[in-house]
């Protein structure tokens, strides 16, 4: 069976007044059905651009795909005509974005917004009616845990709380029964208790439908609690990836180690937290070789060439010369 999503050697350049920034620098990522992949990294590391690229939502120009392929169910997304892409978006690939308050139109009823998406999703397959779509919308709202779903279809977004709006957006993303859900910081704007509910809901949907999820987040706690796999990104590269248990219990890349050491946990005494000195490299003129080397305590002459990604144990892959030994 082919992988659901295969990103191979993806390079993305972004044109700016000062030249072209090399924002994705050879991304390799394979996601299978039923897997929840956390894509983590700090601001500007390219995690959102990776997610947007999967449904080719990065505007070109200013962006330019320099190399690589994105295979979704075996078809190359990057060379697909726009009409084919539209059959994927919202239907085979669902998307959820960060801010639930700005992604719903405040002047239309929740039910109408869901029905529109359901009809758009169905347009490319069997014909469906508005009544049937409305029925489906009610069932989806019920599934994402909105009480009295059918009676809330005629409510407007402002009548829903932040957590409920995010559930509506999840329902909207799932109404076309996608096989891949791309969720970009879906819980960042929410309180922790609501975040826990939303993540539990996503996990439940994966168990029920066998879809795959790409969960883009900066929160390693969220990854540890709800993902099966994780890819750690730094300055346009995936520096480490694998099963969550492998990566979080035995981080092999110095950046992953530094990221974990920066999180205040129960066992860290006050003042003992490890910050990460320096700042992210300028992507207009990135350092040659490993982009983390200028901030890395273990950097050596060998880091001047881009380290190959090697497997340290089944499925756990690291792009660091330390792992080559």
């Amino acid at each position: 069976m082919t992988a659901l999503l295969e990103i191979q050697g993806l390079h993305l350049g972004m044109q700016s007044f000062d030249g072209e920034a090399h924002v994705l620098n050879g991304i390799d990522l394979t996601i299978n059905r039923g897997e929840i992949w956390g894509v983590v990294g700090e601001t500007g590391c390219g995690k959102s651009l990776t997610g947007l690229s999967v449904s080719r939502l990065v505007p070109t120009p200013p962006a330019r795909y320099r190399a690589g392929r994105i295979l979704f169910e075996g078809q190359d997304v990057l060379s697909m005509p726009e009409s084919e892409l539209r059959k994927l978006r919202g239907r085979r690939i669902g998307m959820i974005f960060q801010d639930p308050t700005t992604n719903l139109n405040p002047s239309f009823r929740i039910g109408d917004q869901l029905v529109d998406v359901a009809l758009a999703a169905a347009r490319h397959s069997e014909r469906t009616t508005r009544v049937a779509a409305r029925d489906l919308a009610a069932r989806m709202l019920d599934k994402v845990g909105i009480p009295n779903a059918a009676s809330r279809l005629d409510d407007y977004p402002h009548q829903f709380s932040g957590g409920m709006r995010q559930r509506v957006l999840i329902a909207m993303a799932l109404i076309g029964q996608p096989s891949l859900l791309i969720a970009d910081e879906p819980t960042t704007a929410l309180d922790v208790s609501v975040q826990a509910q939303v993540l539990a809901l996503l996990k439940g949907m994966v168990a029920e439908t066998g879809m795959a999820v790409m969960l883009i987040t900066h929160n390693l706690g969220v990854v540890a609690q709800s993902c099966t796999h994780v890819a750690v990104m730094y300055a346009g590269n995936i520096v480490e990836s694998g099963r969550v248990a492998q990566v979080i219990r035995r981080p092999a890349h110095p950046y992953t180690q530094a990221l974990l050491a920066a999180i205040p946990t129960r066992h860290v005494a006050r003042g003992a937290l490890q910050g990460l000195a320096g700042s992210v490299p300028d992507l207009l003129a990135p350092p040659p070789g490993c982009r983390f080397a200028p901030r890395c305590a273990h950097a050596s002459a060998a880091c001047a060439t881009l380290p190959a990604t090697v497997a340290v144990e089944g499925g756990h892959r690291v792009a660091c010369v330390l792992a080559h030994a």
């Binding site: 975040q195 826990a196 706690g221 003042g271």
Partner: protein, 263 residues
């Protein structure tokens, strides 16, 4: 240092034609913050954290109850005394991008509180610049940064500028409203360490507001939990985290995503 007694704040709602029920944002909140400690205030959005902060800063007037700072009832102070007191309570805001004026240089941002409080502090222009340079050095920036503008700095550096601005009047109490929630974790770690270090060196008292329990656990000696405007639990940090008594606290702690892989 700070005593809050039976603080209640209600907001009136409704417009010209219709009156609706007033909203009680804070209900009978009492707490004390001792000199030199880090006091953490936790709560979800809408729980009243920011309203409490605004009452302490006197940006809002409490409906009832008292706030005593160093034993003085803030509501009974003369305007002149209140102005002097404001130099002793400073605040660091959440968003280091929004809270620094992009058209002011770091020098002007950091010395502005000294200009505002020149009657109480009494520094001339040169004295203000010297003070600003000294405070910038304490937060890990240098005199070479004085004549730069906010856009030339990263998020973590901007928050250092915000902290420098708060410290420049040599306050006794620093109110920190989600000071790291807009920052990446590696930068957050640096800012938290800076705060720990500054407190040890300057003997500051912190009133730390956050929805991030892991940050509160790291930095605070005592914690209070606000839920729908009421203080449901308060106590030493270890007690609250290890043996929470209230259901709300337990729910919140259970929802906290720890970086531990479940078996």
């Amino acid at each position: 240092m700070l005593e809050i007694e039976g603080l209640t704040k209600t907001f009136m709602r409704g417009g010209l034609l219709r009156k609706s029920a007033p909203v009680t944002a804070l209900r009978d909140v009492s707490l004390t913050v001792a000199k030199g400690e880090s006091f953490g205030l936790v709560g979800e959005s809408g729980s009243g954290k920011s309203t409490l902060a605004r009452c302490i800063l006197r940006l809002d007037q409490p409906t009832s109850g008292r706030i005593l700072f160093e034993g003085q009832d803030m509501a009974r102070l003369s305007p002149a005394a209140m102005r002097r007191l404001r130099a002793r309570i400073q605040v660091v805001w959440q968003d280091p991008y929004a809270s620094l004026n992009p058209r002011m240089s770091v020098h002007d941002i950091v010395t502005e509180p000294l200009v505002v409080h020149r009657a109480a502090i009494g520094l001339d222009s040169r004295g203000r610049t010297e003070r600003a340079a000294r405070i910038l050095a304490q937060v890990g920036l240098g005199p070479q940064h004085l004549h730069r503008y906010p856009h030339e700095f990263s998020g973590g550096q901007r928050q250092r500028i915000g902290i420098a601005r708060a410290l420049v009047t040599e306050p006794a109490l620093l109110l920190l409203d989600e000071p790291t929630s807009a920052l990446d974790v590696s930068v957050q770690a640096q800012v938290l360490n800076l705060l720990v270090d500054l407190q040890a060196r300057l003997g500051l008292t912190y009133f730390f507001i956050s929805h991030d329990l892991s940050v509160i656990r790291y930095i605070c000696d005592r914690v209070a939990l606000l839920h729908r405007g009421e203080l449901v639990e308060q106590g030493p940090t270890d007690t609250i985290f290890d043996a929470p008594r209230h259901e709300v606290t337990r729910t919140l702690l259970a929802a906290m995503p720890e970086v531990v892989v479940p078996d």
